[in-house]
């Protein structure tokens, strides 16, 4: 996509090679499991084979009797007295009185080799008393369902609900019943989505080392080294600052690597083993069974619409299970559900419910895809019923800057209308469709996030710049931060090096999550750079003997600001840097804040697909993503986010799901059975980057990572309806399910 005419930047909006590209195409980049230390031990984790069971006894004597086995850790080795989120993290790290899901960690063992650790883990005897379990959200909140934990509910839950309901929310405005009464068509439907996994290809891995003085270090693949530090310290009862956490390169995360799973175990084992470093690398099966998939959802939506397409009332009731702990993203799902619509009468109700499944973690726009599936499916169905163009109905009801959002506050700058107009103009909408082929359309939303951010930068002696950031580079953020810093300084892109640093090197940073790295780290990096520029102007002013205010920065040099400042040739960054040792010392800049000015991002997708009526298999023919980026700093990586998000959504819609057997055990814990999209499943993913600049960011960035996973779920269901006339309301729409629906037609 060509740079728009408002973009007068030299570097922002160009597509240079990413700084870490060479390391990543040669196998040199160091990911979590690539790190080793002298004297290192290897660990294995003993996991519950039961969905819900009392732990009667753990006997590690046989394991400890093996030569080379150095330490075993159980819950008895961890401190007591934790509460709230911290107790949840500790309980998930190692089960206490009960194993709460298939795969729940029960003990861990460290030995001199990986094979020995695995053998020792098999020799740890755990006696269980199996308890009744519950897997699905509607079952878990029904009368008589097994209680997963008494007293886990927070004060928002009304009396009379099942103890597995741990959070309740209700919000809205206007009078929905009056809204429905005003409508020409009122429809109400129920929808379900199944739990899916982020599916990052790199399993979790870490090396932890901690001595008897409770000082520790860890090398770990994570989206956020400070989160790992804070959470591990809490679980182990040590001081956060005594733990130094260095992030490796990260092989995908999508939200799943924003929290801890086995990381504290490496430290606990290390301490017990006399401070020898301990490496833990999860298997794929452990990743699927015992990390943090997303929630499953059961949802009811009711909408009233006039014959002209005006939506007069909308109501959503969402129930989600996020595993055996509170935290299903039902709140975010409700906030996003109707976010694209200007509504006077709207009501939301949500239940967060416990079930015997792993503790859910964030997954790309957590909650938004489920809500969109329900709402965008129903809106599509109503458009068909009333013979209205679905895109025009979104434009008619669509929110614009300053409109009140469905969830309460007014929107700042948003670009939904611009996105919808761009969809209408796209050639994909003119493509002819054949028999059993259909076209589907849907809109998606994500807030984007700011979060605690700390960045420092320093000018090198040769006039280049180094930038220390705390957000691991998960998809090209070194490139985007380099572009923004180079643009601000007026120096070549290649003269900037962005380093992702360890917890000892900066103040606290939230992870690379919430689509925040290019927004928040980028904004802080620009602020830090401005600080260094101010100092360089001060140095030039002192050299010239003029006021600091009389110097401005342009084209990589300090310059007299206007004719009255005096006549001096520009003093370049290289000249200033070469002399900095004798003009006052190092020149650097830093910035710490929770950056304000977050810009939300709307997107709209159009999918063309074909249904094989013989098998129920769906083939994607064409796919279009249109999304508001605010400003694309490096358009290739913005496109990459759009494409990757869309394909994760396609997988969620068509194939991916957690399948449990009747004992509550995960039945598909390998990639062969948990089938993510492969190259031959897909066409090219067409993208259009809409740029409605975010006024809250120096270059207009909104954040682009998450919105793209949301529209595929409903867009695909809508296209299937268009192709073969059946309305699928339960994801995934795999071939057996679709074939059954076709036969029942």
């Amino acid at each position: 996509m060509a740079k728009d005419e408002l973009n007068t930047f030299k570097l922002v909006g160009t597509r240079p090679d990413r700084p870490d590209g060479l390391d990543k195409v040669t196998g040199r980049a160091r990911y979590g499991a690539d790190f080793s230390l002298p004297g290192m031990l290897h660990a294995a984790v003993v996991r519950s084979p039961h969905a819900h069971a009392k732990i009667v006894k753990i006997d590690a004597s046989k394991a400890l009797a093996l030569d080379g086995v150095k330490a075993v850790v159980t819950r008895a080795d961890l401190p007591t007295g934790l509460t709230g989120d911290e107790w949840d993290l500790q309980e998930n790290t190692l089960a206490g009185e009960k194993a709460l899901y298939d795969g729940h960690a029960v003990a861990a063992v460290a030995a001199t080799s990986k094979l020995l650790a695995e053998e020792a883990a098999r020799l740890i005897e755990v006696e269980y008393e199996v308890l009744p379990h519950v897997i699905h959200v509607d079952d878990a909140m029904a009368e008589g369902a097994p209680v997963i934990r008494e007293g886990a509910a927070d004060p928002t839950v009304p009396e009379g609900l099942h103890p597995n309901v741990v959070k309740y929310m209700e919000f809205g405005r206007g009078d929905v019943e009056a809204g429905f009464a005003e409508a020409d068509l009122v429809m109400e439907k129920s929808y379900k989505t199944e739990a899916t996994h982020q599916g990052y290809i790199e399993p979790h891995a870490c090396v932890g080392q901690m001595g008897s003085d409770n000082k520790g270090e860890m090398w770990v693949c994570t989206q956020g080294q400070w989160f790992i530090r804070k959470m591990s310290a809490a679980v182990l009862g040590i001081e956060a600052s005594q733990l130094r956490v260095t992030p490796s390169e990260i092989g995908g995360g999508f939200g799943g690597k924003t929290t801890i799973f086995m990381e504290p175990l490496s430290l606990a084992l290390s301490k017990k083993a006399g401070g020898r470093p301990v490496k833990i690398v999860m298997t794929r099966s452990e990743v699927l069974r015992a990390t943090g998939p997303t929630a499953s959802a059961s949802m009811d939506v009711k909408i009233g619409m006039k014959t002209d397409g005006t939506i007069t009332g909308a109501r959503a009731e969402f129930r989600m299970q996020g595993g055996a702990f509170p935290g299903a993203p039902v709140d975010m799902a409700l906030y996003c559900a109707f976010a694209g619509y200007k509504l006077e009468n709207v009501q939301h109700i949500g239940y967060d419910v416990l079930a015997n499944r792993p503790k859910c973690a964030a997954y790309r726009a957590p909650g938004s895809p489920m809500g969109a599936f329900a709402v965008e499916s129903l809106v599509d169905e109503m458009c068909r019923e009333l013979k209205l163009d679905p895109i025009e109905v979104r434009i008619k009801n669509g929110v614009q800057t300053g409109d009140r959002a469905s969830y309460g506050p007014k929107f700042g700058s948003i670009g939904l209308k611009e996105v919808l107009e761009a969809v209408k103009d796209h050639p994909n909408l003119q493509a002819e469709l054949g028999p059993n082929q259909g076209r589907g359309f849907a809109v998606g939303y994500w807030f984007n996030h700011n979060g605690e951010t700390s960045v420092s930068m320093a000018i090198g002696e040769d006039g280049t710049a180094q930038v220390s950031v705390g957000t691991p580079d998960i998809g090209g953020s070194r490139a985007s931060v380099s572009l923004m810093v180079a643009e601000t300084l007026g120096i070549p892109y290649e003269d900037v090096r962005v380093n992702v640093v360890e917890t000892g090197a900066l103040g606290v940073n939230e992870p690379t999550h919430g689509s925040r790295a290019t927004f928040a780290t980028g904004k802080a990096a620009v602020e830090a750079t401005q600080g260094a520029i101010k100092e360089m102007c001060r140095r030039a002013a002192a050299e010239w003997g003029i006021d600091e205010e009389a110097v401005e920065w342009a084209d990589g040099a300090a310059q007299p600001a206007g004719p009255n400042a005096g006549k001096f040739p520009p003093m370049t960054i290289k000249e200033i840097a070469a002399k900095m040792g004798s003009t006052g010392g190092p020149i650097s800049g830093h910035h710490e804040s929770v950056p304000d000015g977050v810009g939300a991002s709307f997107g709209a997708h159009v999918v063309d697909l074909e249904v094989d009526p013989e098998t129920g298999r769906v083939t994607i023919l064409r796919y279009l993503v249109v999304q508001d980026a605010g400003r694309a700093i490096h358009p290739s990586y913005v496109e990459g986010q759009y494409q990757g998000g869309a394909v994760q959504g396609i997988g969620w819609a068509l194939n991916e799901e957690y399948v449990y057997d009747d004992k509550g055990r995960l039945a598909n814990s390998v990639f062969l059975d948990y089938r993510v999209p492969v190259a031959s499943d897909l066409p090219m993913i067409d993208t259009v980057i809409v740029e409605v600049p975010n006024p809250g960011h120096p270059f207009g960035v909104r954040g682009v990572g998450e919105t793209g996973i949301t529209p595929p779920l409903p867009a695909i269901a809508n296209a299937i309806h268009d192709a073969v006339g059946v309305r699928m309301t339960h994801l995934p729409i795999n071939p057996p399910k679709l074939l059954a629906a076709l036969k029942a037609k």
């Binding site: 993203p329 726009a365 506050p409 996030h449 700011n450 919430g514 304000d596």
Partner: protein, 83 residues
């Protein structure tokens, strides 16, 4: 201190004697949250567990120091998180 109006989510009504909007004396987000807890102790655990506050449409995370004034539109929201 100015009197600010806070829009709660309606699920909290049970904890605020039925009120969906609450008026408290506050000049900052932090003072607003503290005054809310004091006026309605039932919501304190909810606030302590973490909430986001939207002031004139801007969703603040960790912005206790941010100023609020009587003309501001203030919404209490569930704690924002992202993937």
């Amino acid at each position: 201190m100015g009197q600010v109006t806070v829009h709660l989510w309606s699920g909290l009504r049970r904890l605020t004697d039925g009120a969906e909007t609450v008026e408290v004396e506050a000049d900052t987000v932090g003072e607003m949250l503290d005054a809310l807890s004091e006026a309605h102790p039932g919501v304190k655990p909810v606030l302590d567990a973490g909430v986001s506050v939207a002031v004139n449409g801007e969703i603040l995370n960790g912005g206790r120091h941010k100023a609020v004034s009587p003309e501001d539109e203030i919404f209490l929201m569930q704690r924002m998180k992202g993937g």
